[in-house]
């Protein structure tokens, strides 16, 4: 029965090994000349359209930092795992990044199920959990020493945006079209809260399933409710479908889409039909035309590196990595998790060449930004109308 005994021996070894990995003298992922950072992305699942540009944006920022000599002499290396939006793969990827690659921190993990499944493991291992792409509140609240978020929550900025639109434009009947997942529900909370402050009800709401082909019945439903303002909790394709459908049946109602529909793709695909659509922007789209010198140079380098034009998600990936670089730089040459999170808690970044908001973190608040700006599609591109709405 040697094989069985061998098997048991291996199992025993494995269990002993698992117990013994706790004590580690030096900071994981930080060596004399390298900092290792992990990221769990969706490169093959339903939101791969986000995952690929985010990853590329982060890669570009790290390469820029390395070209400039690294952070305190240490080069940055990004290890990306593909979860395909499957939380099981996410959990395994997190364990791999923690134990095998020994990453210093997790950056911009993508997708709520994956984030919810992996965050406890990351925190348990004592690694910073930074700026995940998930609208879930638990990524920044209640305040935890290792959790930081920089993306304005849908609930917060949609509350402000809805309020601003209704107040300045005097709408009486606000309606909502939403994707029936966590994203749509977060937006609904924000819109309802904004309307409640103005003592208005949400007149009608209707949903669709991710991947829905046709939105004509939803739009007809909203029209039947005689809405004068429609908030769209949609992603790019459904935004275009909903607006075109409304315009097609001659319904020129004002519509406002969340930052998930704020993309150059919206007007590239929608053309004439989406002219006049309002949207919320938390980071401006990097338009080549009319770009400042720094931005134009960035777009050129991105295109040379990845063979395709950057979009707003690439800019977000770049911003995420930029914030990491700044915090790591601030933490000083002797990088530890404690020094890093202390640096994060006092980090305050100005607006950058993308036109980003200011990100401000503190001991009490680990959410860097809560605000968005209203934008509108005019002559085939997004034009920012307001400042960040507080």
């Amino acid at each position: 029965m040697t094989p069985i005994r061998r098997f048991l021996a291996v199992l025993g070894l494995a269990i002993a090994g698992a117990g013994g990995t706790v004590a580690a003298a030096e900071t994981p992922g930080v060596s004399r000349n390298e900092i290792l950072v992990g990221s769990i992305q969706d490169l093959s699942g339903p939101i791969a359209l986000l995952g690929a540009p985010v990853r590329d944006g982060m890669l570009l920022r790290f390469e820029d930092a390395n070209a400039a000599g690294g952070v305190h002499g240490r080069k940055l290396r990004l290890v990306v795992e593909d979860s395909g939006y499957d939380p099981k793969k996410g959990v395994l990827a997190a364990r791999k990044l923690i134990q095998r690659d020994k990453v210093f921190a997790f950056l911009a993990d993508l997708g709520t199920p994956v984030v919810m499944a992996t965050m406890p493991i990351v925190i348990e291992a004592g690694r910073p959990h930074l700026f995940p792409f998930s609208p879930h509140e638990s990524t920044y609240s209640p305040v935890h020493p290792l959790k930081f978020q920089m993306f304005a929550p849908y609930q917060d900025y949609m509350e402000a945006a809805t309020r601003n639109m209704v107040q300045t434009r005097g709408y009486k009947k606000t309606c909502l079209l939403y994707q029936d997942d966590d994203y749509g529900l977060e937006v609904m909370k924000g819109v309802e809260a904004g309307l409640a402050k103005l003592k208005q009800p949400l007149v009608e709401k209707t949903s669709y399933k991710r991947g829905a082909t046709d939105l004509s019945s939803q739009v007809a439903r909203l029209r039947a409710a005689d809405c004068d303002f429609v908030v769209l909790a949609t992603v790019v394709r459904e935004t275009v479908a909903a607006v075109s459908e409304a315009r097609k049946i001659g319904w020129n109602v004002d519509m406002l889409v969340t930052a998930s529909g704020y993309s150059s793709q919206t007007h590239e695909l929608g053309g004439k039909a989406v002219e006049g659509l309002y949207g919320v922007s938390v980071l401006p789209h990097p338009y080549e035309e009319g770009a400042n010198r720094q931005l134009a140079d960035w777009i050129k380098r991105y295109r040379e590196r990845f063979g395709t034009a950057p979009n707003v998600w690439s800019a977000m990936g770049y911003s995420v990595a930029d914030l990491f670089v700044k915090a790591a730089d601030k933490a000083g040459p002797d990088l530890t998790v404690e020094r890093f999170t202390a640096a994060m808690e006092s980090l305050h970044t100005p607006r950058d060449f993308f036109g980003s908001p200011e990100y401000r973190f503190s001991r009490e608040d680990h959410l860097g930004n809560r605000f968005g700006r209203i934008a509108q599609i005019q002559n085939g591109r997004w034009v920012i109308l307001t400042d960040y709405l507080k």
Binding site: F7, A14, I15, L43, D56, P87, K88, L92, R95, P113
Partner: protein, 335 residues
Amino acid sequence: MSGQASPQHAAAVARRLRTLSAGALVAAVAVFVLGADYALSQAAFVATYAIAGLGMIVIVGQCGQISLGQGALLGLGAYVEALLVVRGVPAPLAMAVAVAAGTAGGWLASLPARRLGGLYFAMSTLAFALIVEEALVRAEALTHGAAGLAVPTLVLAGFPVDASWSQALAAALALALAWIAARRCVASRLGRSWHAVREDEAAAAACGVDVARAKRAAFAFGGALSGLAGALYAHWIGFVSPEQFGLMLSFELLMLAFIGGARELAGALWGALVVVALPQAISVLTELLPAGTATPAGLESLLFGAVVVALILLRPGGLTASRTRGEDPDLTDTA
């Protein structure tokens, strides 16, 4: 299997030994290459998938039916577990209810079998699964709909099962129990009726086998194991949402049973290893590519698909089918 001539028995023992040593080898390689924590976490998922896989093997390999909706039964188990544990019900008790829910779900999914056969019945299981998924989304008051539910850590006898080694151990124990149950069922009168249905439904009916009842029992049993696997899965992931239990999971389980070999219970373990660990192995291998290259986004699913296709073509009877037997006559006929 039992009570056969001794040379055959010796061959079976030798095969089992080979399987065990191969398993030990895989485990050893995994621990050394990946690190214990990562390997054990994989083991926990492999064992959990193998539990559901055993249920699938009973349905596919023993009873000869196709289920396109097993993922939904895992979902039922996972949600029942999550909802009960959140309300303070002890985990073992909740798990019993999850198993019951899985059983009931399996039974319900098998009802169309009374009137339908073959591919039509398979389609009805697909419809069943999609309806269950939608129901989980819509029952917002209970399930929080698409926003999902956080699941607390599994606590067994006051001991929190949150480390990867304890999760692996708990999953392995559950797998052992499921294995014993499956073996008993397959060896029983019920198991023989499953085999009869698999070989030839008309002949089985002519011999007095209640075909519909046999299918119902297979689905109820498969559902019970899926419920158990779902309950464990919910704890390992710590978060359940309806889309996790969709078509993709059902197909993973179907692949698991087929690739592992649906005729043998051991196929569940091999299939689970392929379905859970192969994508991980591929991602580790793609790291060998020159550093700094942004590996193409679709590379891993391309390679995974290629391995699946190759395995189906090269080992049509599954990994556990012996090479000499080659193409298994019972699995290869168009039924």
